[in-house]
């Protein structure tokens, strides 16, 4: 008998996904800073070391490039490592390992080796931390052929997407919004469901405008569309991008607003806009609008709320495109 679904938050859902995957496959291993005894600074890996032992939940030295580099060696050897980078701002030290190696090993060896690795990292603003704890650098990884980029926005999807990521044969960057970690609770079944990578989801159907978002900004977008006949898409996987779902919606509504937390210039919204311009231009009734973070270093908490797209900024963009 499957257990009754419980109402849990995203931290608990990710923890559950990790636990189930570790039970299912002895090759799944967690490594990172403070992931073991402490259960991770956000408690995402809480209890896992106790259940699976220090050989499978490895507290590593403070060493981002080393963590990812070691995980690459493990993955190619035949394990399924899930590496945690404590905050996205510290993943920069491991970019070389991700881009120069994880992304390329399959191609470099023409399929002889592969790198089934997941790098989990908390991203985004909203928890009033010090500098470099609020980054939203998803676009970097979308520009790395060979890497997949996944950003869940709800506990249910976080669990299903993480399970798919762990089973995926290629490297996945899995971004967890710190703001969402404990914000929402929903029913998450304790059974073995997965949510496929590369598929967006229609959160709300509508006819007048398509709002495209992911992660924490999805929730702002949902608040902003109240009273508007808007279709809201949650991309969930940024790379590979589910263009089908986007184009279908755009052909229906003819208007697009893209919302993301990262700076505007070369943010992932630019890619989506270009894709729509290439493939669905003739269906557009209004210019594509992007509501994003500013082209600025993300500020410390005092100015954080000014940096992030607000409901009213999204609302303004919606009103603008609907005028056409």
């Amino acid at each position: 008998m499957p257990e009754e679904p419980k109402r849990i938050n995203m931290v608990q859902a990710i923890n559950l996904a990790l636990r189930e995957e570790m039970q299912r496959d002895g090759n799944v291993i967690i490594l990172g800073e403070d992931v073991g005894t402490d259960g991770g600074v956000f408690r995402v890996t809480d209890g896992l070391m106790k259940e699976f032992g220090p050989e499978r939940v490895m507290d590593t030295p403070l060493s981002e490039s080393g963590i990812v580099g070691t995980a690459i060696g493990m993955a190619v050897y035949g394990l399924r490592p899930v590496a945690e980078i404590q905050f996205m701002g510290f993943i920069y030290a491991a970019l070389d390992q991700i881009y120069a190696h994880a992304a390329r090993i399959r191609s470099r060896s023409r399929g002889r080796y592969s790198c089934p690795l997941v790098v989990r990292t908390p991203y985004g603003a909203g928890i009033k931390p010090p500098e470099l704890h609020s980054e939203s650098a998803e676009a970097f990884f979308c520009h790395m052929p060979g890497v997949k980029v996944v950003v869940p926005s709800t506990p249910y999807n976080a669990k299903g997407l993480l399970k798919s990521s762990i089973r995926d044969p290629d490297p996945v960057i899995f971004l967890e919004s710190t703001r969402l970690y404990r914000l929402i609770k929903e029913e998450v079944p304790a059974d073995d469901y997965t949510v496929p990578l590369g598929k967006a989801r229609i959160v709300r159907e509508g006819r007048d405008v398509t709002v495209i978002s992911w992660g924490s900004m999805l929730h702002r977008s949902l608040q902003a569309v109240e009273g508007i006949d808007a279709e809201v898409l949650d991309l969930m996987t940024l790379n590979p991008l589910d263009e089908e779902t986007i184009f279908k919606s755009v052909r229906k509504t003819g208007r697009v607003v893209i919302v993301h937390e990262a700076p505007k210039t070369c943010g992932f919204g630019a890619e989506i806009s270009a894709a729509i311009a290439e493939d669905a231009m003739l269906y557009l009734k209004a210019p594509i609008m992007r509501v994003t973070g500013y082209d600025a270093v993300i500020p410390l908490p005092r100015l954080e709320d000014y940096y992030m797209p607000t409901i009213s900024r999204v609302r303004k963009a919606l009103e603008e495109v609907i005028k056409y």
Partner: protein, 351 residues
């Protein structure tokens, strides 16, 4: 309270075979006459490969190539100690290792000719594809070694890199991981005294590179890298130690890059001829030859046969490589992920 010494380290240097071809028999590893001959034949084969690769590059048939001249003993000696089941993480100047491991030689020409398919390691070997960004593969060896330990496999992971590689952050991070998790890893540095134009002294103010290992909690040893017996013994011992659960070892092979960094480099711009000349008498192939001659294992006739055999093998590899069909251009897309993305599925139609 007086100050006290809480730690001191001793850095060993191992030499067995001297420039006159005499050995210290108390240190000499157990090797049969046939094994010694096999070592010599591999040295000659590797040198023949190297000469041919330079020749083919000048003819425009290979791209930029990194020669191994002078470093053959470090490569053959260490690889000779490896099992086929061990995992090898090479950088770009390791053709002697590949040849000693039995990698198909035509595939080496194929790789240097610019075709990724040359890196499809045969299934009976575990050689990781060549790492171009210097030193960044060191953590991979640590990770593979930890994975081997986790799975209970009796294998070691071996990373090859240069003196320049020891200055990279990944050297530190990889060594640190290997030390903390007591990984069955062997790190082999060919200190060939140069990183393109930058001399060894500019990489580190440390007296030896070997001593760096001690700060990660494991042993480092310097060996005469032109002495094939010393390299073999140090590697053999390190592998035994790794496989019996006693953690990693760092081996600094003290050797010399006898020629240009690559075919795109001109070493006369930054180093003196007399420095190069001073290393000539220490040639690793000559040294083993002198030893074998004294033991009655080497004759003019044997030399000729060995050279002829090497030439036949290399000729055959070159013609084999020439007969390979060019790659399908769409291959550059096909191997990015296990499956094509929807976009890639459209892009690949260009071919």
């Amino acid at each position: 309270m007086p100050e006290s010494i809480i730690e001191s380290i001793n850095v060993k240097r191992l030499e067995i075979l001297d420039v006159n071809g005499d050995v210290d028999s108390s240190l000499m590893p157990a090797l049969s006459d046939n094994e010694i001959k096999r070592m010599y034949e591999l040295l000659v084969l590797a040198r023949t490969f190297d000469e041919r690769a330079l020749h083919l590059q000048r003819e425009g048939r290979l791209g930029t190539y990194a020669p191994i001249l002078g470093q053959e003993a470090s490569q053959i000696g260490s690889a000779f100690a490896l099992e086929k089941t061990d995992w090898v993480f090479p950088s770009f100047r390791e053709m002697g290792v590949y040849i000693a491991m039995g990698y198909p030689i035509h595939m080496l020409f194929q790789y240097w000719g610019g075709d990724e398919r040359g890196l499809i390691t045969p299934s009976d070997l575990n050689i990781f594809p060549i790492c171009i960004p210097v030193g960044t593969h060191i953590p991979h060896a640590a990770g593979a070694a930890i994975a081997a330990k986790h799975k209970g496999d009796k294998v070691a992971a071996v990373a090859y890199f240069g003196d320049g590689g020891t200055s990279k952050g990944d050297f530190h991070e990889g060594f640190n991981m290997a030390g903390v998790f007591k990984a069955p890893a062997v790190f082999i540095c060919q200190n060939n005294q140069w990183a393109i134009s930058v001399p060894r002294q500019r990489q580190s103010a440390s007296k030896t590179l070997a001593q760096k290992a001690f700060s990660y909690g494991f042993e480092g040893i310097q060996v005469d890298g032109n002495d094939i017996f010393a390299v073999y013994k140090a590697t053999k011992d390190a592998l035994k130690k790794a496989k019996s659960g006693n953690g990693p070892t760092f081996i600094e092979c003290f050797t010399y890059r006898m020629t240009h960094h690559t075919t795109a480099d001109d070493a006369t711009r930054y180093r003196k001829d007399d420095e190069v000349a001073s290393w000539k008498p220490r040639d690793p192939v000559l040294r083993l030859k002198l030893f074998m001659a004294k033991k009655g294992l080497w004759t003019e006739q044997y030399q000729k046969e060995t050279e002829d055999k090497a030439k036949v093998i290399i000729d055959k590899a070159v013609s084999e490589e020439e007969s390979i069909k060019p790659p399908f251009p769409g291959d550059m897309i096909s191997y990015t992920y296990e499956k094509l993305t929807p976009r890639q599925a459209k892009q690949i139609k260009d071919f």
